[in-house]
Symmetry: C2
């Protein structure tokens, strides 16, 4: 029983078995269906669910190639027959995924007509173990928001790569009006479980929904925020435990760590550019002395989060890895085998840490100004794993070096990390950007969700 | 810095100061406004917010006495003037509370007309530090639900104490139709932040809302469930640490603890009546050996929750209270001074435990069958503190004896705890209900929220 492996709070049936979910996106073109499904999928994968997005436009582009608006004319029987078939092909793939080891599938298509939605429901009803179906409709009639969207589509959609702005606008608007002919918003009469989001997340409507997964999703949707401010991350300066290779504890900074704290203070006040941010910025630390001491040189109010405390090594706190290997060889072995799920006896696993830092993610998603997060190795791995859409199993192996500052920049579909190494050998400290590594992770809609590689 | 006191994740302004909330209930009579505000208040108080419900009917009964339906006739100018004034009196008290040390106030009245809601908004606007105003409207047109409600009102409302069923029905329906004349549902055009719940929680609409507190509230509303199944609680059997008075760790059961495990198994299978529950029941444990071993004798599938693990005593794990007092006198002293908020160095406070067990509460709220929870002293204090609406400061001092089973029964406004002591001295174990303590905590609408006494 010691050091058991972790199970996430998955929705279980009364009989104790797991339930799968099929989330079906609904909405006219350029309503953020892809944006929403990808963000929710990233989140659910991160908290431990095997999740994939099945995007109808990707299938259409792969199997058929680019199209123009006329293709979507409801009176064009040939293309309508094609699209009706394609719709079922994508759905079948999603259901096959859920019959296998998949736990959550997003069906990212317009699903705008009663006919399409009925096709989904009757196909799902044929399954032996049908997933729970939840529709997510995005509604937006604010022209300025939609124009922004189309502007962005221009940038990313291969259908429009070679067009000028006006041609794109005309074509997208034409598509939208074709879709509008059969479009029916979800209603209660259909007896469905659904979530509707209006104008980004100005209004959220939740109908006939219960359960852990949908509730988490509503929570995230309410917090998603189109203003994506930069986030700065750093580990605490070197501690007296780091110098001895000891795990955990609540040590103070080493002399070298103190120099880093000074260097960090100077960097944040100076080269980071943060002091010029009109809206100001926030500083968060854990409740442990080494992060509080590291942030002290910023001379800035800080918020102390227990959720940012380092992973709890339980029995192994205060030991070196070598001592653990010697005294508890089974712990070292089990941890090497599954570092994500292995839980230290009377301590935590990485997956425990993920669940624990989740409220921090929610706060970062809804933050209205830049944030500096001073935390610990395992914690920053968990947080960066979320933003960079990492395969959960790779999270415990991500590199988060000491004495470096990571700057995360987000756009709708992209996260970029820049690494600033600060020189903490010299006193008085000098900020040296000796190496400036730039790692980019595109969350663009053309890559299958399965690709997490950075 | 060692063993700092805890701060809950309160909503802070950009400048770092706290924001207060005024939740304004909206709805016709018998729509569950009181039910909702009391449940939400209990929850928010539990997670650390100073919270009070200001109920307009209580004020009216105290200041004016019982009324009949005619009192609510909109053409009755005298009573309308009275109610308009009373409305502002209640609001003023809520605002005074928020100007003082209050953090969240619920204004539990009908607030059904545009006029009443405008009165609220213009009064709030005069505050130097106005709270954030969020309206919560309960809508229900399902006659069978409303009849159930009225049936219940009959039972609890002093206005109807001496009436027969028919008179009550007639009077409540008359009141409802008077209120309906000026009733306007909340709309987006009013530019307000609001939550609407339809038919209990069949549908939830969330408009123009952000922030931690409202998001938590929506989450709870989605999970509230009118079927309140019984919940059974027990601590693990005596462990090898209990016998030595050691804190924390991951010990096995003592021989006496093993006998309790057997006694518990027999009790749950037999006298508890659980095995007759048509829908079956669930068993939850922590991830520590002593609860898993205790539940093993139930021969029933179990769900292991890390959230149910005992409070983490950090530095003090494995020590006795006496050793702590000797080695770390400042810890003992600080903990004695504020046991709720004192956080063990590199460990947890009771308030940390409250935040950690919150997902368990959500699961218990939405459970669809009885649950047996095998956990630890501090954990059960936190959970029972929620259901019994305990003053947070009293939570760390609640009595949860070893080798006893607690049965929690909930109705709309009441929670009752029965304590079964099991004899674990004898072998083969015999279930002895030597003492059968019954503690009742009424959450009835007539008691001020400030009364937590059980
Ligand atoms: N909630 C949102 N916050 C920020 N940006 C958004 C949001 N929703 C959509 N967008 C932006 O709008 C653009 C179009 O969104 P998206 O591609 O997701 O639309 P879609 O509904 O999938 O369209 P299509 O039906 O053509 O696939 C994207 O550039 C996206 O960044
Ligand atoms: N969501 C709910 N789940 C279970 N019971 C409910 C719910 N909402 C209301 N009820 C029941 O309905 C009855 C009436 O509810 P409540 O007293 O809260 O109504 P109210 O809107 O406050 O009425 P009034 O305006 O007369 O004060 C109560 O007995 C309550 O138990
Ligand atoms: Mg799309
Ligand atoms: Mg009431």
């Amino acid at each position: 029983m010691e050091g058991a492996f972790t199970d996430v709070k998955k929705k279980t049936t009364e009989s104790g078995s797991y339930v799968n979910y099929l989330f079906v996106m609904v909405g006219l073109p350029a309503r953020g269906k892809t944006y929403i499904s990808r963000h929710l999928a990233r989140y659910l994968q991160w908290i431990g669910f095997k999740t994939t997005v099945f995007n109808m436009s990707h299938y259409r582009r792969d199997l058929h190639g680019p199209t123009e608006a006329e293709f979507y004319d409801p009176t064009n029987t040939e293309s309508m027959t094609y699209l009706r078939k394609l719709h079922l092909t994508v759905l079948d793939d999603a259901l096959k995924y859920l019959e296998g080891d998949g736990e959550v599938a997003f069906f990212d298509g317009t699903n705008h007509s009663l006919e399409r939605r009925r096709a989904v429901l009757s196909r799902v009803a044929q399954e032996t173990n049908p997933p729970i179906v939840v529709f997510i409709e995005s509604i937006c009639e604010d022209l300025s928001i939609i124009h922004d969207h189309i502007e962005n589509m221009d940038m990313y959609s291969p259908d429009y790569l070679n067009n000028d702005r006006d041609t794109t606008f005309k074509d997208v608007n034409q598509r939208i009006s074709f879709y509008r002919r059969d479009y029916k918003t979800l209603t209660d009469d259909e007896g469905l479980s659904y979530i509707k989001v209006f104008d980004l997340n100005h209004r959220v409507e939740v109908n006939n929904i219960g359960g852990y997964v949908p509730a988490r999703i509503v929570f995230l949707l309410m917090n998603l925020n189109p203003n994506r401010h930069e986030i700065w991350f750093t580990r605490h300066g070197e501690s007296n435990y780091n110098t001895k290779g000891l795990l955990g504890g609540d040590p103070k900074l080493s002399p070298r760590g103190e120099i880093y704290a000074e260097a960090l203070g100077e960097f944040i006040r100076g080269d980071s550019g943060l002091s010029e941010a009109a809206e100001g910025f926030d500083v968060w630390t854990s409740c442990l002395r080494r992060t509080i001491q590291t942030a002290a040189e910023l001379n800035h109010p800080t918020r102390k989060w227990r959720e940012l405390n380092e992973i709890n090594a339980g029995l192994c706190e205060g030991m070196t890895y070598e001592q653990v290997a010697e005294k508890y060889p089974h712990i070292s072995a089990a941890r090497a085998k599954d570092k994500l799920r292995y839980r230290y006896p009377a301590g935590e696993s990485y997956l425990d840490v993920v669940m624990r830092v989740e409220p921090v993610i929610m706060e970062l998603e809804r933050a209205h100004r830049p944030t500096v997060v001073v935390a610990h190795q395992a914690i920053l791995r968990a947080i960066l794993g979320y933003f960079l859409w990492k395969d959960p199993d790779s999270i415990p192996h991500m590199s988060v070096p000491l004495h470096s500052v990571l700057k995360l920049t987000r756009t709708a579909y992209t996260c970029r990390v820049e690494v600033y190494e600060l020189d903490s050998e010299q006193s008085p400290p000098r900020i040296v950007r000796g190496r400036r590594v730039v790692r980019a992770q595109s969350l663009g809609p053309h890559e299958p969700v399965q690709n997490y590689v950075t």
